[in-house]
Amino acid sequence: MKVASADGEVALKEVAAESSAPTAAQVSLRRLWRLKWGLAAAAILLLIVGAAALAPWVSPHDPLQVNIRHRLAPPAWMEGGAAAHPLGTDQVGRDLLARMIYGGRASLVIGVSAVVLSATVGVLLGLGGGYFGGRADWLIMTLINVMLTFPFVLLALAVIAVLGPSLPNMIIVLGIADWPFYARVIRAETLSIREREFITAGRALGMSHLRIIFRQILPNLMSAIVVIATLQVARVIILESFLSFLGLGIQPPTPAWGNMLGEGRIYMLNSWWIAAFPGLAIFVTTLTINLMGNALRDWLDPHMNL
């Protein structure tokens, strides 16, 4: 009965395939269409990254140029706004658009560097714990539990308070606070891959542990790592902005979205735009990164459970 129905299904599929077989081009188009949100997000993100990277060429003004006579000018479309300052100016007359373009630099550099650091640490510990098991694994798991119990924000605040705020310190702190997310996933995946036959075969062929870990297990985890790393960039950017917002991150007058938002808070009674636009920049950036990360996950492995 089962065989018959399976045969029937196959036959039906064959008929369907003959009548309207989608061409290769159609298939890839359909795949792309499913990724439409991710692609749109990637395009916007590319724009943001491009603007930050090419800031000296695309920025309409110098982000540090003070102009007291034009201070607190509203955006161009509001009454009293000037076309020279499309998004208005801040409390000392610096152009808001220019500061936003430059402000992206700190967030993006910190976001990407911290993620590279935390991914390296987290992946190595996750691989080691998952593969070798035993006491090392217990220690790593405990460390992960302790770190995940600690609110990420509090940890970063406390460490920055001791180290003092600077770009390298921010990267180190955010990188170190972030590794357990990778370690936990990678460890669990390693545990299951370790039991697969090709690992046993590798051992039987006399491969060293290191070779098995880096040549046989790690390549199987690359898509998971890429997806987590992408999503974590957004998290790190939000946290960096929050530290800068509190005055514990990037120090003024260097523009960063976080410290602009923090400064704007003081003037929000009359000049909402100083706080609104930098926050919007953070929001759009993290949103596009998240959308891209989700699309990446669906594209690489729809069954991935992250």
């Binding site: 600690f150 609104a276 953070i282 949103l287």
Partner: protein, 306 residues
């Protein structure tokens, strides 16, 4: 069950020791308390004298033991700034943080539970897509920006709510919403996947086959079992929730532990920072323990496995 409780308690002790090492290490290993305490132009003898006075000339494990044994008795030293015991300062600020956390949790549940269940039952419908879109946007939203936007709209423009502070129920509205909006997206997605998983279970099919109405299937069979993943998630999310409360407090000048911690960091008042970090972590660990025990009690599979 007894075994399960014992295992959880052992884990609790290990995590607490880990947290105490972490918070001790932040000040004593990464930083140097004397450098932070004394003015930069203090002489060498002055440094040595203070080092002795604070017991910093002793080996690090002796210092740690002293810190740990005192901390267990609730003695984190005196605040360097206010000359009162750090423990009392932090404890006084605990209630507002706890109220805010629960209010935020309540708002998050009010949003996440109905929407999560609805989008799980009506998968791939317009409602589901809409909910997912809002959740994706919500996850990317920096809540300190959301808070400021709320203040600009409701306090500055509409003059409907107090911009910051503590006291009446009106003071609760914006911070609670802010924190709820922080927690709701991830909770909604987890509720959704939890309900979807349960709806595919054999006993749901059995109930349907028996002729139980769809409404009863959802209310009596699905929701009760979907409670387990939701409770677990709430436990895991509690650390996140407190992290969100920290951010929310600083935006609305809420007189809780987080505001105190940030103030203390600005004043370089490390006993208070240490105490706040340890106590907050303790709260999180205890909530996690209670959640684990409750879940283990509801679902026997969990306490046998793992």
């Amino acid at each position: 069950m007894r075994n399960y409780v014992a295992r959880q308690l052992v884990q609790l002790v290990v995590v607490i020791i880990g947290i105490s090492i972490l918070s001790f290490g932040i000040l004593h290993v990464i930083g140097d308390p004397v450098l932070l305490l004394l003015p930069q132009n203090a002489g060498r003898e002055e440094f040595e004298r203070y080092r002795k006075l604070l017991g910093l000339d002793q080996p690090i494990y002796v210092q740690y033991w002293k810190f740990f044994s005192n901390a267990i008795q609730g003695d984190f030293g005196k605040s360097w700034y206010a000359d009162t015991p750090a423990f009392r300062l932090v404890l006084e600020r605990m209630p507002p943080t706890i109220y805010l956390t629960f209010a935020g949790l309540g708002v998050a549940m009010l949003i996440a539970l109905p929407l999560g269940i609805l989008s799980a039952l009506k998968r791939h419908s317009v409602v589901d897509t809409l909910c997912t879109a809002v959740a994706v946007a919500g996850q990317a939203m920096p809540i300190f920006w959301l808070g400021i936007m709320l203040i600009i709209i409701f306090a500055v423009q509409l003059k409907a709510l107090p911009a910051s502070g503590y006291g009446t129920w009106q003071h609760f509205l914006m911070p609670a919403f802010c924190l709820g909006a922080f927690l709701a997206p991830i909770t909604m997605r987890l509720v959704r996947s939890g309900v979807i998983e349960v709806m595919n279970m054999e006993y749901i099919k059995t109930a349907r086959a028996k002729g139980v109405g769809e409404r009863m299937v959802v209310a009596k069979h699905a929701l009760r079992n979907a409670c387990i993943p939701v409770i677990t998630v709430l436990g895991i999310q509690f650390g996140q929730l407190l992290g969100g409360a920290i951010i929310t407090e600083t935006v609305f000048a809420w007189p809780g532990v987080a505001t105190l911690t940030v103030e203390s960091i600005r004043n370089q008042d490390f006993p208070v920072v240490q105490c706040a970090v340890v106590l907050l972590a303790l709260v999180i660990v205890s909530v996690n323990l209670v959640v684990d025990l409750v879940v283990g009690f509801i679902d026997p599979r969990i306490r046998v496995g793992a």
